[in-house]
Symmetry: C2
Subunit: 263 residues, 2 copies
Amino acid sequence: MPARRRSPPTPALSSIEIPLPASQTRAERLADEIAGEILTGAFPPGLRLDEQVLARRFGVSRTPVRDALRLLSGTGLIDLRPRAGATVRTITPDELDMLFIAMGEVEATCARLATLSMSPTERAALQNLHESMGRLAEAGDREGYAEANLAFHGALYAGAHNSVVEEIAVSLRRRLMPYRRAQFRAPGRLQRSHAEHGAVVRSVLSRDAAAANAAMLIHMSIVEDAFEAMDAAPAQDRATAGESARERGPAAAGPAPLERLRR
Amino acid sequence: MPARRRSPPTPALSSIEIPLPASQTRAERLADEIAGEILTGAFPPGLRLDEQVLARRFGVSRTPVRDALRLLSGTGLIDLRPRAGATVRTITPDELDMLFIAMGEVEATCARLATLSMSPTERAALQNLHESMGRLAEAGDREGYAEANLAFHGALYAGAHNSVVEEIAVSLRRRLMPYRRAQFRAPGRLQRSHAEHGAVVRSVLSRDAAAANAAMLIHMSIVEDAFEAMDAAPAQDRATAGESARERGPAAAGPAPLERLRR
DNA sequence: CAAGCCGATGATGTATGCAAGGATGGCGCG
DNA sequence: CGCGCCATCCTTGCATACATCATCGGCTTG
């Protein structure tokens, strides 16, 4: 086990000592972990995030948990109301619509800027990626295609050569992540997606910024349709995050139980 | 003075009791106040924000100050590095460029969406505002024009009928605020600005979304040029926010000393 | 029997204490 | 005299204790 580092006079802390990996604050790591749980759906929208429960769950005090929640509230992943505590952001259908529209616009902006700013190397890489995605689509590898799809859009974000826009795009994508579970479920979706990407890629390569913008706008508006029509309010009423966690002895710092989804 | 509300057993708190206005947490009000100081330039970019000093300054403990700083870090107004503390975000010329580009793109998106979504009432209001701004420009009222300008752009944000996009726009504008001090200083700037607005308004009214988008893109790119070429790194080295604040008795909750800018 | 009030309970907001980490200044050595 | 090491200080991160507020259940009363 990891030898407990420093602070021998640590009074009591039910679970074992965590190695304190990098020069990163506990709050940040907590924020990452909680964000991960939300993004994977382990913490579904509407879930109540109880500070004490989370604190016990991660073996820290309430302070870093509070910090993490403050941090996360800035990303739009959670709601933080003055006396009501934190909940995983529940998105109404209307908001979901707006998010998709915004995502489409930002993606289109990225495509436009990327067309104007990408280096020859980046253009080549984009084309290569696109072609390999064609093979994945043909093979019907949804898993692989979904992953490559993230890389594809990410390449355009980066290609915009504008960290502000990129950050906005990444942030929006994160917020939408919980709602795009079944993205490529429909039968011909992979092929259609690839074809639409093709239009974007051709525009980028031919340096037609307006066309790239338009092509991406079309692609994104169709993506939206492909998403499952979630009622967006599965909000579990009383359940709180991180189960009862009664002082289980040696940490069990494993993947952590992430069951008990939708009631 | 405001009768101290509740909590008679409050142990000690050098300064007087603050009324605790609404169901808003101290941290939120602090975040607002600090943001205000930054936006008005009282806390210039690069200023070190010391938790204890701020705490004394506002008569609270360090905890709400910490919360406020976490909140603000999410808005991009301050930098928060693990052990180095918080500083008012200093923006490099490159970043400033990117911010302006991003702002332009988002504004253009707003113009596009507004063209598609604005109600007749909103269109009329926009036109009215534009016309009254014409009078302000003619009168050379820079103060008034600057204020109306915010309203004008804000109307387009709202007209997009998309709270996500609007929030992005507002956030970007806030981040740029400290750098747009001398916006309408140049001689013919008011008239030019108004003329460019006119192109946007005409496009919006004639429901030509693409034209509105393009007109706003042009307007914003020119706005950028009008900003003073700040070296963007006036970072005062040692100065910290909120002066020494040695326990001055009765609050003096006034506008607070906001001198000692650039060394 | 229903409705409203009141108290208990538990959570969040706030304050304070303590320790680790980084930065700074002084001192010693080359 | 200059450079580098080390001790100290100071600030932040974390933990804990306390106060306040919201919610919920039971009780009392009309």
